[in-house]
Symmetry: D2
Amino acid sequence: MAKRKLGIAVVGIGGAVGTTMAAGVELLRQNAIDTTGLPLAGFDELADCTEIEFAGWDLFDSDLATAAEGHEVLTLKQFAAVQRALGEKRPWPAIADSRFLSNIAGTNVISLSRVRDAVEQVRADIREFRAQCDAVCVVNLASTETLTEADNSKFASLEAFEKAIDANAADISPAMLYAYAAIAEGAPYANFTPSLSADIPALVEFAEQNKVPVAGKDGKTGQTFIKTVLAPALRSRALHVDGWYSTNILGNRDGLALSDDGSLASKVKTKSSVLDDVLGYEVEDHIVDIRYYRPRGDNKEAWDNIDISGFLGQRMQIKVNFLCRDSILAAPLAIEIARCLDLARERKEFGIQEQLSVFFKLPMTRADRPEHAFYLQEKMLLDWLNKA
Amino acid sequence: MAKRKLGIAVVGIGGAVGTTMAAGVELLRQNAIDTTGLPLAGFDELADCTEIEFAGWDLFDSDLATAAEGHEVLTLKQFAAVQRALGEKRPWPAIADSRFLSNIAGTNVISLSRVRDAVEQVRADIREFRAQCDAVCVVNLASTETLTEADNSKFASLEAFEKAIDANAADISPAMLYAYAAIAEGAPYANFTPSLSADIPALVEFAEQNKVPVAGKDGKTGQTFIKTVLAPALRSRALHVDGWYSTNILGNRDGLALSDDGSLASKVKTKSSVLDDVLGYEVEDHIVDIRYYRPRGDNKEAWDNIDISGFLGQRMQIKVNFLCRDSILAAPLAIEIARCLDLARERKEFGIQEQLSVFFKLPMTRADRPEHAFYLQEKMLLDWLNKA
Amino acid sequence: MAKRKLGIAVVGIGGAVGTTMAAGVELLRQNAIDTTGLPLAGFDELADCTEIEFAGWDLFDSDLATAAEGHEVLTLKQFAAVQRALGEKRPWPAIADSRFLSNIAGTNVISLSRVRDAVEQVRADIREFRAQCDAVCVVNLASTETLTEADNSKFASLEAFEKAIDANAADISPAMLYAYAAIAEGAPYANFTPSLSADIPALVEFAEQNKVPVAGKDGKTGQTFIKTVLAPALRSRALHVDGWYSTNILGNRDGLALSDDGSLASKVKTKSSVLDDVLGYEVEDHIVDIRYYRPRGDNKEAWDNIDISGFLGQRMQIKVNFLCRDSILAAPLAIEIARCLDLARERKEFGIQEQLSVFFKLPMTRADRPEHAFYLQEKMLLDWLNKA
Amino acid sequence: MAKRKLGIAVVGIGGAVGTTMAAGVELLRQNAIDTTGLPLAGFDELADCTEIEFAGWDLFDSDLATAAEGHEVLTLKQFAAVQRALGEKRPWPAIADSRFLSNIAGTNVISLSRVRDAVEQVRADIREFRAQCDAVCVVNLASTETLTEADNSKFASLEAFEKAIDANAADISPAMLYAYAAIAEGAPYANFTPSLSADIPALVEFAEQNKVPVAGKDGKTGQTFIKTVLAPALRSRALHVDGWYSTNILGNRDGLALSDDGSLASKVKTKSSVLDDVLGYEVEDHIVDIRYYRPRGDNKEAWDNIDISGFLGQRMQIKVNFLCRDSILAAPLAIEIARCLDLARERKEFGIQEQLSVFFKLPMTRADRPEHAFYLQEKMLLDWLNKA
């Protein structure tokens, strides 16, 4: 394993995924778990998982042990094993803006009276953290922000974006500000959420100019992962998809955020874009539902019904019911993304890291059209990892 | 499309799959259906689907229209459109041996009093059919034969096998005799069933010696298709498979044959071998059930429950319910296999055609270990088709 | 069987359910089907099913054979058998009001320039039909109307309602006008839809005054049927329902109507009221989704996920997937309802017929609170049918 | 609540169900859980749940805390709360007979060299336990015994049975010996397993003669519970069941026992008898599969597929997937059965207690034919409980 101490600064470190990442690395350090769930465990050029340090911002100031206890992701034994280590970490104040996140209100906040000052505060946090590590990546795991009718001209160039920051423009979201701060500090940045962030022209320009690797967006964990595995196979067998109905029930903080219509729109958008692209034709009846449903907590459930036609035009159905654990699927992918971005930095490959597409529902790409088919994405990543 | 008239001689032509193949080609000729379900529709080097002729053997002597009506696979409109064309075709008498197929008894049979004579009869059928076509392939779609405790030394070399035929040996199955006859006549041969057939050393030797392409075995249509699509993806995400329970209910003639324990054993064997191979470790709780259940007729149903562990060793479940139509999935694959074998013959590539692995549950290979992962199999086939 | 010719006048006779009712009775007459699906087939006091005549109103003027063909509910053989009989029937013009039904626009309409005149037209249709039968019932099977913010005072008494009709009031829905006309003509009336209709005080008053049996509302066919069967059993075992997520996909004209938000609200309301009532406590996470999804046509599908707690507070899940046929379930119930209303009329039992609760999602009752538990409802009906 | 201390002597007290019963009562005593899962919590004439004492026999001599830990049914917090109380209880040696239970071998055994002596030992255990309580019931929760080809004449009368005991007859099973001992001691007896036990004529005769209430057999917990709830509803709607496929996967000690063919036969037999009886006709395609599948442990899963025909003979499907917890469902029912038997004893009602049918897959009855429909069974029980 590469000998460097990688710091991961998480936006939303106190959430279910953030605390699971921190707990998982601590349990790996203690040899209490194996590397199940970490797809790139065997690649030595990446930073060693047990050398990773965590820090981050959160709207709630609970220490990470308290936060983890509330999310009920860890078993009682796992919680006991990490309680001390996580209890020592407390989130930095976070940027709060109720225009972008209405259902979640915390008190551990950076004042937004002057946007530029908020950015400077985030930059200072990153710098301070980097002083304790060999390198730092920033990963956005905050609740999904609402889709707004923004004035896109502000996002069209770095120059316009800088001016908008200085003018305290209301339509710049927290997710964009964190991305901006990370790039400004030369810290590789990944957006694991559906929020609009580094995927605006201004920030892509900034990442290239400042030589910073960036990747996103929206981690491909459960239903969309299965969708991008199955859909290419149906295409391979020349089975025509007549309709695909996907519904999701989830009850964690992520679900609560999504019970806001605007946030839901962001999420549904990244989930919906996939299918037509993989199949090569428009599926007229592709429906994606997401409902906040509390009995299951962090244990997300997806139910997919797929209507297909085969030979002689005859109809068949496939139903997939995935009883998954949101944070258990997301946390290791977020770790792998950070390790890959760190490797890209080492290899001096900057800007959009398209080879990380396999980790995202809506991959950022240099070209117009992302690859969504899982096996092609995976090949892209493995080829990159295996190159001399 | 390649301009040659391909004849497909089907063992079990009167079955649900055989009649669906014949009806499908007729409907394509009439432009009544499109090429949905035919994965290789776009490859011009293959024989044109609308130029295919069908013939074959069956234990029942009904003409193909009568047989198709009984299987209830075609819609009434489709049946009406093909009734005349199929009504003109009547199966040749078939080799019947109740030691290998106890639940199905037909009357359209070739005497087995002397095995060599039966083989000669099958060879004569093939020769006569070839006189009407540019080329002939033989595809085995007969009901699954029982697994027997055979004296394997008879199958170990062509010489031993020839002697066993001449000695009227009881443990040579009908499936082997058809394969032998096809190879003897230089007709490419595919085994779409789980029965032991061209996959014995004697017949592989014969195929190489006589310069005949062969492929098999057991068409990968429903549940195993899904399994070889999903399992590699779970491996890619480092999700550990703790158990995989697969059950199937089906009510067609294939199902009736499988209600015999010996035939069931054949089938379960080809379905079971897949998973450990794809994952790279042994799944201790991999269970495959197949039950004869009549209400659904040809509309097979599979239910899979997959138990997986992810990060922190935590448990999740995936359930897949495939309401499929057996013959609708199988018929176009059997057509594509025949077209590929015909192309192999044209290209003078003989013996085992490993590049057809994507079509089979238990692919015949030259090397020890077959590839089961769907996307790797598909790549192998596409590379072969696309080579100059 | 009781010897009388029962006429059923259907609002929406050209729909999938209406045409299935007419086809079913014709097939029974021809002895082409048995009484499967007709729960009260053995009760001789009811009008004989084979003596039933159909007529009705529809926004589309296609004859019933043409309409039935479009709905694709009948098999080709069944369609051929009823084509002549159904082809002779053509719907009367219907009351159209786009304020209550925005997604469906037909041309076979009664002018609403004067509401009173429209009512008189409907009454004349009923009178004319009754001249050909021994008795007539009216059943509402029209598409679900939108829930409006009506001025309820107009519906509070018969007097106010009559005035509102004469004043051409905009918030009186077509469903109410048909119910009013039926009651005015002394024809028993049932509302098989979720629309607001005979369940307003004005019309209940009218039914009692005019001695007319009425029943409703919203036929209990698929998901809610299962819900009112399972939920009482969970209560009986003292299993606590923590959440119940119900989703539905359907693609027929009913589904299209429900893709309008207002109509959807009507439907979800009748589906939602059931659970808390049966269980005796409020299920906080009871969610009902209904989505218009075309690939399945009339073949509705429901998926329910039920989260329950048992002994020691431990969690379990039940999932029910109902692949049902909307019209196949609804048509026989609508027939049975009409036969029961006809019997109530014979027995001189007027006003709300609470004993028909088993057929409805939201039963009309004399008392405040309907019984929803299926077996208690059924007992009520059987006791009524069996009384001397 | 009735003021008496009820002792429950459990055959198989160290199993998952037995330890869950004991833990549950202890947690109720501690007020750590509520009465969720206990259907008869509100009936004051029954013995108070918090006054119940447990004892019993087991092939393994671990104390109940150690046994409970191994079954992983309790949460860690629940285990901690009951560890001391359960740790003080250790099972009496049990009757072991490998002819009836081949897959489970324990060391805490009563010698069977003389059957009569074994019976006397069990009787002495019961007497000693009763000395500490106001009354004692015996409940059989041992692993399912294999079905044997017994000489039924030995079971036909009490006299023959007594002789067989004295003759050390090999075909008398442990389950029968426990039932005999309980009845001999005047202790009410329930058989919660599918094993042949008190349901032989000899023991029914003994129970009546000795004035002892008995009930059985095979607790109706998961799949069969759902089946007897749904099937009557399908009958009520005149929907015809064309086939019912039930499969079960379970991984606890009960599952291991069932992986023996003979035990499996016992279990499948009690599960299968239900359906035809409820529907009133023979379902030709009723299949019940049970498979030992370890990843889920005590978390049993059932998957049912039901094929039904409705009006016009058209086909529909219902699929039910029950992710249940075997012991969580079984333990409270076993407690309720014991409390009801105790009440029967108080009320001086002896012999077969048919009113407990709701708790059993194959209810013992005085008449020929048991009632299987859940709501009719429940009514029978409630009527009995509510009678003055």
